[in-house]
Amino acid sequence: MMIHFPALIVVVPLMASFFIFAFGLFQRRVCFPLMLGTLAACLVFAAGSLWAVLSAGQPVHYYLGAWDPPWGIEYVVDHLNGLVLLALAVVCLLAGIYSKTMVEREVPVAKHAPFYALFVLQATGLFGMTVTGDMFNLYVLLEIASFSAYALIGMGEGAAPFAAFRYMIFGTLGACAYLLGVGYLYIITGSLNMADLRQILPPLYQSQALIVGFAFLIVGTGVKMAFFPVHTWLPDSYTLAPSSVSVLLAPTFTKVGAYVLIRILFTVFDPSFSTTLLPATQVLGWIAVAGILFCSILALAQADLKRMLCYLIVTEIGYIGVGIACGNRLGLTGAIFHIVNDIFMMAGLFMAVGAIQAHFRTRNAHELTGLHRKMPVTSGVLVICGLSVIGVPPTCGFFSKWYLLLGTIQAEQWVFMGVLLLGSLLNAILFFRIFERMYFEVHPDALHQRREPGTTFERAAVSEFAPMVVTAAFIILLGLFNERIVSGILAFAIPPGF
């Protein structure tokens, strides 16, 4: 049964979304348990797939429809996407638990069935994009994940439909650029399978059409990954989305985009092509550096807590970009480890902000005085995640930034190293400003004057702070056991040719 896990992790949530939608129309209450059961099953499949890869020691191949690769579609689970898959499965399950009370609050009852069906389809698209070994299949799964994201964001309040529409224009532009890139690769090589392309492409590295196709692939993936110059769709759409949706999308979608970029740069194309022959990673590095500085400063300027986090997402993607740009084992280890850490960090942060908005009824960073008294758990999780984003030792953020720094030093990219340190400093200013206002400023009148008299302060539900605590625990655990993760999994996750 274990050999079917790579296919099951995508097909089971797909089938479950049909049941959730069909039964949800009749019996609304069946949606949440079905969704939770599916995401729990996906966690089991993800863990099983990673375990199969670790015990086998080499990538696991799964031929869909029993057709061998270049003709049929192939799923490949290796150390790299096994780890990312496991992190995605954990965070999707936590986002599912978290969404119980949030959806009751934000989504009208008649729309629960389609909402949960799209929630699970979004998870399907993410898992599929991580596992697939076929370029066109990745495009189709990218579209499933994107359509669910557009619709879920469109459910938000205020200007959410407008933000979703602008995200759709940008996202479709990116997906079409990706499709055009796959078309360029197909017209030159005739194959769609990643491993097959790796064999056919080397003699063609000089042809200009290939370089243009490579550029389209990078631009398309960059849009989906919210890389610096093409990230403008992210702050509006994730801020206005319902909080259960931004908790699902923020940690996962952009990191899967980063994984796809690593897959294209170093698995489909030879690392020597991406780093030396065509200075693609150098250019990406300099853009990422500009992105880190620009977005860290913009994050400082935001009053709205959620919008501040959105700019943080783009900064973290910038760190991953710098990791890729180093072009050596250390830098890439740091980039992959940072993808996994960032999935958990952003999940914790967005869950905390969602709970604060729901119970403290504010998102303004200046009105958080006395939060620790009313919501001790949420503020505790916010502190742990903040420290991890800054990069303070016990948390996992420190270790991934440590490898990134080592990578930049080894690659003698002193500017990259400087910007990494400066970025951490800017994040430190950002978070300590919030911590200071949360814990140390005591203005009881500010608290009462804003609160309407007579509204009781209902406690955060268990289904809200349980996932938060689990995420914070994961952040600490990843930090403590980073050495085993790096030597056990990441050492083998680096594509050959480095």
Partner: protein, 156 residues
Amino acid sequence: MVKDLEDVVIRTASRILIPFIQIYSLYVFVHGHGSPGGGFQGGCIMAASFILMAVAFNLNMAERRLKERTNAIFCALGVFIYAGTGYLSFLYSGNFLDYGQLSHLLPTDPIKARYYGMAMIELGVQITVMAVMVSIFLDLVTAGKHEKTPEEDGND
């Protein structure tokens, strides 16, 4: 006066045409293996017949023929048939979507089983595409105000 005359011509013409459109759609669907056709094209033609019904008559007619809830169930049913056929090969420890394993189920050799597997797939695609096209059309046209009968809305 002119408005009614116009309706009469369109209504009688479409009353005659709609059944043949649906038969043609089944023809295209069934001949997916031997000639250009298949689930998608057949589903679209079937959806066109329902949309013609909604345009020529009024939304109530289309609503009566294909109620909103059954349409939603058809959406899920078609894709369920598709994925279900894929799951069948798990029973015989084949990979996902491996129709060769259907030969244990159907009294044929593995190669002919692939022929029947594809027919099942096309059926699933036909149902889903038909249901979704009609559902998207009805949603966009009424902008979500299904419950109000067209008379209140002005007979558009």
